[in-house]
Amino acid sequence: MDMLYNILIAPFLEIAKSPSFFAEVVIGGLMSGVMYSLVALGFVLIFKASGVFNFAQGVMVLFAALNFSGLLDAGLSIWLAFPLTVLIMVLLAWCIERLVLSKLVNQQDIILFMATIGIGYFLQGFGEFLWTGNVRKLDVGIPQDAWFFGDIMIQQSDVFAAVVAGILVIVLALFFQYTRIGRALRAVADDHQAAMTVGIPLRSIWLIVWSVAGFVALVAGIMWGSRVGVQFSLSVIALKALPVLILGGFTSVPGAIIGGLIIGVGEKVAEIYWGPLFGGAIEEWFAYILAMLFLFFRPQGLFGERIIERV
């Protein structure tokens, strides 16, 4: 009885007692959720356009952040380091397309998946080889103060991250919806073969999506790196994108975003209000449990692409 009370009633009483604290927890969760969304977004882009489940997406976040912070530490200004890192990510996309994807084209999905695991390990090693494995501080001048709304405290850095992520998502959405290339990308995502019949060169499309995914990884890496430092654990945090994808559906851009936010908020709230019951550190595994429940009840995810069926 006590147990049930502790799980089902007590946390809500606590929430009701101090709604402003709850609001802070939720906002904090939303902000880390934004990060998950960005990584998941990179996944979805690649998965939709090439059917490749890119296990290396998390490491790409690390790799991008490593390059960026390494260039900064080498004395470059942000305005030089940023475009240079973008260039590196495009170059990386080009190498992946040239050296891996084009050689494995028409192989089974599982083989491509394994190849991305290989790419992940390579990138991790290569990044550390280039820039050493030390934790780097990353300071790009994101404001670090806090705002107060009544008694709710909001970190400016969190708001900044959310705004940047929001802009990125909107720009991507417009790009996909209204440009010639964006339309071609959606066409490829719908039907590879038909896209080939209208003359869309798949290889350049792949180059574009991997570049865009690299760019998204860079943005996520900068945001995250500024918060926790650029270090190996970035690629592990990025793995949280997996439950996000299960929640949101592997082919849905809005799903990736909403899924990320749900997981971000969910795990923070669970940690604060239910964590003590389980001895804390719920945050580490909460997302995976949630994802598993989803697999039981809604395997295509919240927004998983509806299979169009005419009646």
Partner: protein
Amino acid sequence: MPRKKALPHAVVPDSVVAVKEDVVAVNRDEGSDPLIRISNIEVIYDHVILVIKGVSLEVHEGHIVALLGANGAGKTTTLKAVSNLLGTERGDVTKGTIELRGEKVEKMTPSDLVNRGVVQVMEGRHCFEHLTVEENLLVGAYTRRDGKAAIQTSMEKVYGYFPRLKERRKSQAGYTSGGEQQMLAIGRALMANPSVILLDEPSMGLAPQLVEDIFEIVKRLNQEQNVTFLLAEQNTVVALKYADYGYILENGRVVMDGDAASLAENEDVKEFYLGMGGGDKNFSNVKSYRRRKRWLA
């Protein structure tokens, strides 16, 4: 339908041979090189499955050429060999050559071919389901570099041929009817300004009247826009009605060819493909026929 599977192979009665020579003469008379020339190709899937066993055919500019045959005869495979789409299915042209205006296609990518005016409309339409009808058409113009205005003009032209598409232009393609999807697939191909359309089984799953409508438009496109067609069809009656020339494929071989009118008149074609065998349509006749063929072969 299943009966078609049990067809005698490579029946080349005298009458057809005669027709064939006639047509060779006709082709020579035309004096021009064919737009597409397939010479004795072999296609193998997965490195082991031989499905096309030495097919040769020619498509002349301005013609509608029908590629006929039952399920599994190799029509789709032949079309995909021309458009270089076999790669995605682990198929390979292992022998022979395919030329487009005298140029070998083997080194070209599918998008090179679209740039040279060869566009395939795949069996089963393959519209981009989550794109609107209009977006589908715009994607069809992907390879074009002649600007928005020209693309807009082409779109109006497509809408002229298929008014139904204009009505539905804001709908997601996945929610349109089978007939609309077939129109869309053809319209999308037209957006590339093609000189040849490789049209695979346009009649599939459509009501007879709709099939006629589609073929009627194919004919108009052929005459008004000077689009050449190589079309694969199981519906021999309709295909021969609209085509100029036909090839009959069986088990990966061309067993007959001739101009459409003479094929439609041919007794064997009538019996096996047009289902008009008359009184002698029974099995024993077919069997003796097959025996005779073995003798001849």
